[in-house]
Amino acid sequence: MSVTREEVAKIASLARIRMGEEELERMVPELNGILAWVEQLGEVDCSGVEPMTAVIPNTLRLRDDVVDADPKTGGGRRDDVLANAPAAEHGFFGVPKVIE
């Protein structure tokens, strides 16, 4: 499979990356080179093979159902959470007006 300039523009839009004409033109052959190369995976007979879901067998744990079980990942860290925000006001993240 290969992608056209229009398809790359659509993928870039889905990925929320603005791309100018020149950049799109450059990406098309690069992406097609990579896609043509990964096509070889189609040669492999994978009937009856399960896709990998966990690389090392591991059990999923449940943490205790309490507030702030871990002080680093629990609540009460608003100022820390906002400390690196490009815009923060009144204890919230600031974003441009959203009017649809």
Binding site: M1, V3, V8, I11, A12, S13, L14, A15, R16, I17, R18, M19, M27, E30, L31, G33, I34, L35, W37, V38, Q40, L41, G42, V44, C46, V49, E50, P51, M52, T53, A54, V55, I56, N58, T59, L60, R61, R63, D70, K72, T73, R77, D80, V81, A83, N84, A85, P86, A87, F93, V95, P96, K97, V98, I99
Partner: protein
């Protein structure tokens, strides 16, 4: 007195403990070496005060007769993919420039708790995507090595290229690395140092900037197998904050080191004899077999039939996970915001990500977005995850016949910066021997073997069974003792 910057982890730790020198003297020596090596561009920021404060704390403990820790008095370099509280953490991307975490990654905290200090944050390929350290927003890293008779700057490998350059140049005794598809082993091989990626889940990923979460794993880079064993012990351990963290005790790898391989079988995978592999690399592989035979091991042929499909499968799985992980960089919560005049929220996302990500990162996000998109998911992503199952099964079968696998780390030695930029695929092929172990989550290490005819280091790779870091380290030690690799790059920086 011996020059302190020539010492490794064990020598520094033991020298501080027995009072041969103070931790402060060590930190001062390395701080000065870092400051004088700006031409390597190995560090994005230096943190001499962090190193000195950690050293003073160790010296004070020693005065009181307290335990100094596994890494007591050892200053290290920290790959700038680990969140460090109060110190800028960028993943070498413009989109995170200025980001100053309010928290410390588990691995870095473990190291500080073990008595280590930080010399600075090391440069890398942007978001760990690259094999030459040429995708960093903060400029290329140069290897301290040069090809004999030439003056061109050589690649230190990637993505942990700041780490490999700093350790090989002796401006840090050791450094952290991360390995998603070879990012510890390939740079270690390129610069004549050791580096080990442990079993997936040994080192916590909490606080490590995510690239491909099912593959990312941290590990140490240092100049000897012993130093790697010591540092890995300090880095590893169960962390309830990482859902994929292994709930297992950390073995005493350093104390367990044993280079006697009697009764062990070493597998040689025939599929790693690929077209395009450098003759000298094949020769060093043969030499490696002889060394391990000499150490008492039996050499057996094994087969990993899906080896050639590992790399293309990786270039579906890793970009897919990256496109999802990197969705968080949106100009809202941290990092860069690009808000064109009159722009709405969607325009802000797109403008921020356009300005903040480098070309290779964008390329991988687009590939990942495409292979996960409606209509293509099964053909690409599901198929790649099935191939991944087959690659892991190949290893499981091979380990029925052997205890560890010996292979080259890379198909070529280091190359001049800028020489492989024409085609992304050529660059990807650097990791053809490293990626299979990543897909299977296995512990794997690179140790230096020899210099090639151009005077550039070549590495050998050992891949072990799940959780058998000890077997990997022991095999590495057997090679190290016989290779006697003590070549040092001539100082030009």
């Amino acid at each position: 007195m011996t020059e302190l910057t020539n010492l490794g982890v064990k020598a520094i730790r033991d020298g501080v403990a027995d009072g041969t020198f103070t931790a402060r003297e060590v930190a001062e020596a390395f701080n000065a070496a870092v400051a004088a090596a700006s031409e390597l561009n190995a560090f994005i920021v230096a943190t001499p005060d962090h190193a000195l404060a950690a050293a003073d704390a160790v010296d004070a403990k020693r005065a009181k007769g307290e335990d100094l820790g596994k890494m007591g008095g050892v200053p290290i370099g920290m790959k700038d993919l680990f969140a460090t509280k109060g110190v800028q953490t960028t993943a070498a991307s413009h989109i995170l420039e200025g980001f100053t975490p309010e928290y410390e990654s588990t691995v870095s905290q473990n190291l500080w708790d073990a008595g280590a200090g930080m010399l600075g944050k090391l440069n890398l390929d942007q978001f760990a995507m690259g094999s030459s350290n040429e995708t960093s927003y903060f400029g290329n890293v140069a290897s301290p090595w040069k090809k004999d008779g030439t003056n061109a700057a050589m690649s230190p490998g990637g993505s942990s290229g700041g780490s490999s350059s700093a350790v090989a140049a002796r401006i840090a005794p050791a450094a952290t690395g991360t390995d998603t598809g070879g990012s510890i082993r390939q740079p270690a091989a390129f610069t004549g140092i050791c580096g080990i990626k442990p079993t997936y889940g040994r080192c916590s990923r909490w606080g490590v900037v995510a690239f491909a979460s099912s593959l990312d794993q941290a590990g140490p880079m240092a100049r000897s197998v012993e130093d790697c064993a010591i540092m890995l012990e300090a880095m590893a351990g169960f962390d309830p904050k990482d859902a994929t963290s292994l709930q297992m005790d950390v073995p005493a790898w350093e104390a367990g080191l044993d280079a006697d391989l009697k009764g062990k079988k070493i597998g040689i995978p025939k599929e790693y004899r690929m077209d395009g592999t450098d003759e000298e690399i094949l020769k060093s592989w043969e030499q490696g077999k002889e060394w391990l035979h000499d150490a008492g091991a039996e050499i057996v042929d094994v087969s990993l039939p899906h080896t050639k499909y590992a790399l293309p499968a990786y270039y579906i799985v890793a970009p897919a996970e990256a496109s999802s992980n990197l969705a968080r960089y949106d100009g809202v919560r941290y990092g860069l915001r690009d808000l064109p005049d009159g722009a709405g929220l969607q325009d802000m996302y797109a403008a921020t990500r356009a300005a903040g990500f480098g070309d290779e990162v964008k390329r991988r996000i687009l590939i990942g977005t495409y292979v996960l998109s409606a209509g293509f998911y099964d053909a690409y992503y599901t198929q790649a995850q099935k191939i991944r199952t087959l690659v892991a099964k190949d290893f499981a079968q091979a380990f029925g016949q052997c205890d560890a696998i010996l292979a080259p780390t890379t198909p070529t030695a280091s190359f001049p910066l800028g020489s492989l930029n024409e085609d992304p695929l050529t660059m990807y092929l650097n990791d053809v021997f490293a990626v299979p172990a990543s897909l299977a989550g296995l512990p794997a290490m690179s140790v230096p073997a020899t210099l090639n005819a151009d005077g550039l280091p070549l590495g050998l790779q050992i891949v072990g069974k799940p959780f058998d870091e000890q077997g990997v380290l022991d095999t590495g030690l057997a090679i190290q003792q016989r290779a006697g690799f003590d070549a040092k790059p001539d100082k030009w920086w």
